[in-house]
Symmetry: C2
Subunit: 340 residues, 2 copies
DNA sequence: ATGAAAGCGCTAACAG
DNA sequence: CTGTTAGCGCTTTCAT
């Protein structure tokens, strides 16, 4: 029936032949807003359907030099914050006609190995979540004309747009709350030492504690990892004088801390000790945890980061923007309320 | 310095000119195992580095008609089982030189709208997780020569390879456990009515109950959704004669059930009532939950699905395979142990 | 081992 | 509105 030999997939030329039009006419029939007569288009579409033709987007990318692909680099997918944001990002990009090319790097790995891969694949833009960026990386991308936007990470001194939560200010609020709840021995559980989120939250926490006249916090490192956060919490509990309030650099670690507490200590969270996180992941609101936290609205952050990407795509050369998405403290049962 | 006008990205021709070789020579220099003299290659690589050249994989895809892209369609990313598997799949595919093009569909949406997108993007293969597949979909992909592998879903009667856990047999084991623990009023919480996982687990559960001489279970539907699972659990608890053992079609819903129980009932899980899930997501092992469950090893499933994809890519036309990955029952505290 | 030539499937520019 | 002509940047014969 169809005049296509063996297993080849039909091309625009095949369709053109069947429809009795030129090959570019087929192209126009499949291009939104191209100038083509309705009847011609119908003829083409009919022939296309008959042959099972679908435009080859790879070929289109080559000619237009736009792939409609956005690279998304993400790790720590076991922290529910990230898949939640990823799903939103993918959905919003899809609405804008872009697809997500996923790059997952092993946790804590440098972003450099991505560079080559990303640039060779000719993504139109790059979203870096839970990853830092080196100046060489930023430089090369900018030279290649690939906009880069960081989410939930910041790299000081580089002209890269970012979308973050209120890391520092949120942590200040948390310190205040801890002080006003009457705590005397604060502790901080860091994530990864070189992660800007962890650093900023720690900085804000210190500032807030000092302002409230509290001592410098005890300090452990949980590496944003569940098991290592449990160990870190255990270490705190084993201290001669354990803390009475622990601020964890994210919710995921705070949940680990809470459970270690339940399991291995008689201290009652929200009474004898306060556990506070950062992010407001869905599980934080689960009744078993009722984790007090400072929210980072992932859906909003997803919207903002995509908006930023599209903006940079439309207006190349626009200066980088640091977008701080507002959040708020959520008092739940894992921390002592402030005194009246 | 370099002879490239304005902001264009350097091409193989630019490199060829600088290196004083032909353009195909540049191609060979970047192709593993191509026949090229070492010194020529060095000249090329030097020139390439100087210009900041990177091969354009889109152009390569067009000529080779292989994109080295694998589509991964996934939804329900809020169920930790899926991101965990996604991360593994992406990592293993990356090792094999493939990238992941992500397709996220709204939960419960039909897979049909994906078809067009997937086929136009010329992915080399497609992995469908948490999605069913229609015969037209399978048919079109096979016609286009795009291998499709389903993970954690099965579609009866279609010649599509699948990788699943032991849904039916696992559920039989669960029924036996419930019987041997002395329970008398079992209940089943379904996921989505049209999901094969939910159906198979229900079928196995029924079979196991019958074999053990227990009555048909009460039945509610949680739609694989946290909040709807809570409502479903509430409905069960509000019954004049509530169940004494609830098997939930997956862990995520079982966690919801457990928490609703804690919050809104005096029944103690593991004593007055048993709650059992399916998957063994990381949170199931968390001390707060200690959820009894039947495991689906997501890392192994990821390996198998990628292996299947690569196999079909290497040997097109090989018959479809149904791969059932073994799991086992994990007795934890949320369910009553069998009596001695 | 290397270069010349052709072509992958499409869009863009230009006549008509 | 439509066809003709040229590429996009690469890989692939095929000579040499």
């Amino acid at each position: 029936m169809s005049s296509i030999k063996n297993g080849r997939r039909p091309t625009a030329r095949d369709v053109a032949r069947v429809a009795g039009v030129s090959q570019p006419a087929v192209s126009r029939a499949f291009t939104e807003g191209a100038s083509i007569a309705v009847e011609t288009r119908d003829k083409v579409l009919r022939a296309a359907k008959e042959l099972g033709y679908r435009p080859n987007l790879i070929a289109r990318s080559l000619t237009t030099s736009r792939s409609r692909l956005v690279g998304v680099a993400m790790s720590y997918l076991e922290n529910p914050f990230y898949p939640a944001m990823l799903e939103r990002i993918a959905a919003i990009l899809a609405d804008a006609g872009y697809k997500v090319l996923l790059f997952t790097s092993p946790p804590g790995a440098p972003c450099e190995p991505l560079l080559e891969d990303v640039l060779r694949n000719r993504v139109d833009a790059l979203i870096l979540a839970s990853a830092s960026i080196t100046s060489r990386f930023a430089e090369e991308c900018s030279r290649a004309g690939v906009p880069v936007v960081l989410v939930n990470r910041r790299t000081p001194g580089h002209r890269t747009s970012t979308v973050t939560g209120m890391n520092e200010d949120g942590a200040v609020v948390i310190a205040e709350r801890i002080a006003r709840a009457g705590h005397r021995r604060p502790a901080f559980m860091a994530g990864l030492e070189n992660a800007s989120t962890s650093q900023e939250r720690e900085r804000g926490f210190l500032r807030g504690l000092v302002a409230a006249g509290l001592p410098e916090p005890l300090r452990v490192v949980g590496h944003f990892d569940f098991e290592r956060a449990r160990s870190a919490m255990r270490a705190l509990l084993a201290l001669p004088k354990p803390p009475d309030a622990v601020f964890c650099a994210n919710d995921y670690m705070a949940l680990a801390a809470l459970q270690t507490l339940h399991e291995e200590s008689a201290l009652r969270p929200g009474r004898d000790i306060s556990i506070i996180g950062f992010d407001d992941i869905p599980a934080a609101a689960w009744p078993s945890f009722a984790l007090s936290t400072f929210s980072q609205p992932y859906a909003l952050m997803a919207e903002r980061v995509v908006a930023r990407v599209l903006d940079q795509l439309r207006h190349p050369g626009r200066p980088a923007v640091e977008d701080v998405v507002p959040g708020s403290f959520l008092q739940r049962r894992s921390s002592r309320p402030v005194r009246a």
